[in-house]
């Protein structure tokens, strides 16, 4: 009876099961990402099929067809009615674009970025780097860190997409040293160039799906890890934390901190009068003894131990750290590179936003830290 049994043992059912198993093995082998984390799933779902896609999403490398024929890009619909910016950005899976005009690369800045707890697959980074020797050095340093994070770093550190742009105009000053760039006569040209850099960066990277824009200067080296969630929770059109700087006192050798950004302020009658007496191309500047504006500066509103969620209305904002709803920029609020109501750059931006019916808010007790040179 033996030989007959051995022939009958492999009945059709076992073969079918085997084939099905084979299929499963193939599927899992060839698309391993489907078995990976939800984050990477979201990543590949957002990926565009063409490099001519909004830079805020990753794209699939194109396999050149054998016959060398180019496949025309697809017709893509973007439903911008569904792009929201709410107080719960993580819950609503809102994408954020972090924009940084980069003159020098600080390792602390990058480390601080990696520490942010906002889901990294919802974060796109974009940098604008001038085309000079310093810029080249910064680019190299930045690219090294990017490769480290995006290729070999842990999955949860990887950002959705990173854009590096090189500026198409020379910065007006060859030196970016702190003393030089804060001279009053240099301010207008410097800040006009800065505005152009910011605008170029903003309008080429914003894309159709961004919900929030976070402006973060390359010398901001310390922020709370929940910076984005904390600022967004206030659900304001424009919101600014208070920018401080840690320094070592030359006498006592203690580490102390001092206010750094004086561009966030509430307007004063004195400043308004000063502006009225000016020519159309003159600008009002803050923090210079020659020009007493008597504005209320947010830098000095800080109170030790007070509620960090205290809000104050602002008329001018600084750009060191600044969270803006994308729709404010989309409506046209940009950084004027020319005197706009005698204001320029970020201060002019606050003014333009106001003309478009958007208000700016400050958080005097919520601190971020600037690099000390």
């Amino acid at each position: 009876m033996g030989p007959v049994r051995s022939l009958r043992r492999s009945n059709p059912l076992t073969i079918v099961v085997g084939v099905v198993l084979c299929i499963f093995i193939f599927v899992f082998l060839l698309s391993p990402s489907s078995a990976d984390s939800a984050a990477s799933k979201a990543r590949s779902a957002n990926a565009a099929s063409n490099p001519l896609s909004p830079p805020t999403s990753p794209f699939r490398k194109q396999n050149e067809k054998a016959n060398g024929k180019r496949k025309p890009p697809p017709v893509v619909h973007y439903k911008m009615n569904n792009v929201t910016s709410t107080a719960d950005p993580v819950g609503n899976r809102e994408t954020i674009l972090i924009l940084t005009p980069l003159a020098r690369f600080y390792q602390e800045y990058w480390d601080n970025l990696l520490k942010l707890t906002y889901p990294h697959e919802l974060i796109t980074l974009a940098f604008m780097i001038p085309k000079n020797r310093e810029g080249n050095a910064a680019t190299l340093a930045l690219q090294e860190q990017i490769t480290k994070t995006q290729k070999t770093g842990p999955e949860k550190h990887r950002f959705a997409s990173i854009i590096i742009e090189r500026q198409d105009f020379e910065p007006p000053l060859s030196s970016q040293s702190e003393a030089e760039r804060h001279k009053m006569e240099n301010q207008k040209a410097r800040r006009a160039a800065m505005s152009k850099a910011r605008n170029s960066l903003l309008f080429t990277t914003l894309g159709p799906s961004t919900s929030w824009v976070l402006w973060l200067d390359s010398d901001i080296i310390e922020t709370p890890a929940t910076l984005i969630q904390d600022l967004a929770a206030h659900n304001k059109d424009i919101i600014v934390p208070n920018c401080f700087q840690r320094y070592t006192d030359s006498k006592s050798k203690d580490v102390k901190e001092r206010a750094y950004d004086f561009n966030s302020w509430q307007d004063s009658d004195a400043a308004r009068k000063l502006g009225e007496g000016m020519g159309p191309d003159d600008i009002l500047l803050e923090g210079y003894a020659e020009m007493a504006t008597y504005r209320t500066l947010m830098a000095y509103m800080y109170e030790e131990g007070a509620d960090i969620n205290t809000e104050v209305p602002l008329d001018g904002v600084g750009g060191t750290a600044l969270l803006v709803k994308a729709e404010v920029h989309r409506d046209g609020a940009m950084f004027p590179p020319f005197p706009f109501y005698h204001l320029i750059e970020t201060e002019g931006f606050a003014r333009m936003a106001k003309r478009l019916g958007r208000a700016a808010t400050g958080l005097p007790n919520y601190k971020v830290y600037h690099y000390n040179e």
Binding site: I15, L30, L52, R60, V75, E165, K196, G332
Partner: protein, 488 residues
């Protein structure tokens, strides 16, 4: 009939030996051989195995061959996550390579074509005819459409037409990146000609238009664009080479002259876009008197600005390359370098120096020291949509025409009646005349035929060649036919 040995009690009826028998493995040639028994079963198994193999190969081909890399297969999926090998997350752009030059098509400079749409279904086919005809390399043009607050089938038709365009057989036809952006601004303003051009609605309408344009631009502008071209869908006639023609001037912002054709009774043609103008002292003085949020709009008696308009300076025979510096621009067809928009110039949705939208755009570009130029003798033609007045006038004309037709009909009827009542001598005259003519004709014919016969008869004896004989035969045939006719 069963073989004899099956009757033996030590085996089954099928010839299989019973278990108790000792010679289990003995092979007897007389026995029934069960091994050869289930060929059907084996065949089925083989079929299944082959099917399984086929499915396996098919799967392999499907996943590996066309697109995916073999790496995850060979590494058994252990080498990091396979999908991430395919995903590119870092982009690098050098903006100094996308400044925009006079001969962009030679340097493969990309253009972003922006078209804001609202209830534009009826114009779409015309617009796509223009798209088909552009001579600038299509794959260098990216199309971006903003569809907002549309109640008709603009969106559906647009996607259909775009899909067709991208699937075109001709490899030169498909365009670059194509984005359709859907965003509603909750606009209450009507888009018909009358409400669109009424003075009171202008300021808020222009601000909303500006907002739409800014949303479109900020969503579609990329770091690789050198130029941005704004085009309204209701342009009826424009040169196919318009992109190259405007680009050749190498200006930061440049607009052609926009006119529209009119029915003959309205004068044949008319300047259409009055938003392209040069600033005047009067207008600047006027601007100073207005409050912060006021918007000066051109072409209305309420604001007499005395500005030189691009539209009115047109000479049909003038040099199409002539340039004119302007301060405000119209939005029907604007070609601008992308760096203008990158540096922050946009369409103010607020009153910027007392102007909004495209006029404010021109003002802001000027404020940032960009060159803003119009071409007074290079004209494109906007579609003519009759206004309510025009429609009324046309109705009047139609009625007039109908009345005239009716009158003529009446007249004709009257004449006919008269003719019927009084016997018309004309017909009799005509009849007689034709009879006489016929008679004369017949006589003439007979005469001619008789002559022809004579000629043939004289020729035949003189010439004896076979061909001529045949000819003569043919001739005589004709004659006999003619005779037959005569006989009738």
């Amino acid at each position: 009939m069963l073989p004899r040995h099956t009757a033996k009690s030590d085996s089954y009826s099928n010839g299989y030996p019973r278990a108790k028998e000792k010679n289990t493995y003995s092979i007897s040639p007389h026995r029934f051989q069960p091994r050869a028994s289930p060929p059907a079963l084996r065949r089925r198994r083989q079929l299944l195995i082959r099917l399984g193999l086929l499915v396996g190969i098919g799967l392999f081909a499907f996943f590996v061959w066309p697109g995916a890399s073999v790496v995850p297969l060979l590494s058994l999926g252990f080498l990091s996550s396979g999908e991430d090998f395919q995903l590119e997350t870092v982009r690098y752009y050098d903006l100094s390579t996308v400044q925009g030059t006079a001969r962009g098509w030679e340097r493969e400079e990309r253009i972003l074509l922006c078209a804001p749409l609202r209830d534009a279904e009826s114009h779409l086919r015309m617009f796509f005819a223009h798209l088909h005809n552009f001579t600038y390399p299509h794959h260098l043009i990216d199309l971006a459409f903003l569809v907002s607050d549309s109640k008709d089938r603009t969106l559906g038709l647009l996607s259909e037409l775009l899909e067709d365009l991208q699937a075109d057989e001709d490899p030169k036809m498909p365009y670059g990146e194509i984005s359709i952006i859907e965003k509603d601004f909750g606009q209450k303003v009507n888009q018909d000609v009358e409400s669109r051009h009424g003075f009171a609605a202008q300021a808020s309408r222009r601000k909303l238009m500006a907002q739409a344009r800014n949303w479109l631009l900020s969503a579609a502008l990329r770091p690789y664009h050198s130029w941005v071209y704004w085009r309204d869908v209701d342009v009826e006639t424009a040169p196919f080479t318009i992109l190259e023609d405007l680009m050749r001037h190498n200006k930061d912002v440049i607009v052609p002259n926009v006119w529209r054709p009119l029915p003959d009774w309205l004068g044949g043609e008319q300047p259409y876009d009055l938003n392209s103008w040069q600033e005047s002292e009067t207008a600047l003085a006027l601007a100073d008197t207005l409050d912060e949020d006021a918007v000066i709009v051109e072409g209305y008696a309420e604001y007499a600005t005395w500005r030189p308009h691009l539209a009115y300076l047109r000479d049909p025979y003038g040099d199409p390359d002539m340039e004119m510096d302007i301060d405000g621009v119209g939005g029907v067809s604007i070609l601008a370098k992308a760096k203008v928009f990158r540096s922050g110039v946009h369409f103010p949705a607020f009153s910027f120096e007392k102007h909004a939208e495209t006029e404010g755009f021109g003002k802001m570009a000027k404020r940032m020291q960009f060159s803003v130029v119009g071409l007074p003798h290079y004209t494109i033609w906007h579609l003519y949509e009759p206004s309510v007045d025009d429609i009324r006038h046309m109705e009047e004309m139609e009625e007039e025409r109908k009345a005239r037709e009716k009158e003529e009909q009446d007249k004709a009827d009257r004449m006919k009646k008269i003719k019927d009542q009084f016997a018309d001598p004309n017909s009799q005259w005509e009849k007689d005349k034709t009879d006489i003519q016929n008679e004369a004709l017949r006589e003439k014919k007979e005469k001619e035929k008789a002559e022809a016969q004579n000629v043939v008869e004289t020729q035949v004896p003189a010439d004896s060649k076979p061909e001529t004989k045949a000819e003569a035969k043919a001739d005589s045939k004709v004659e006999s036919k003619a005779d037959a006719v005569k006989a009738q």
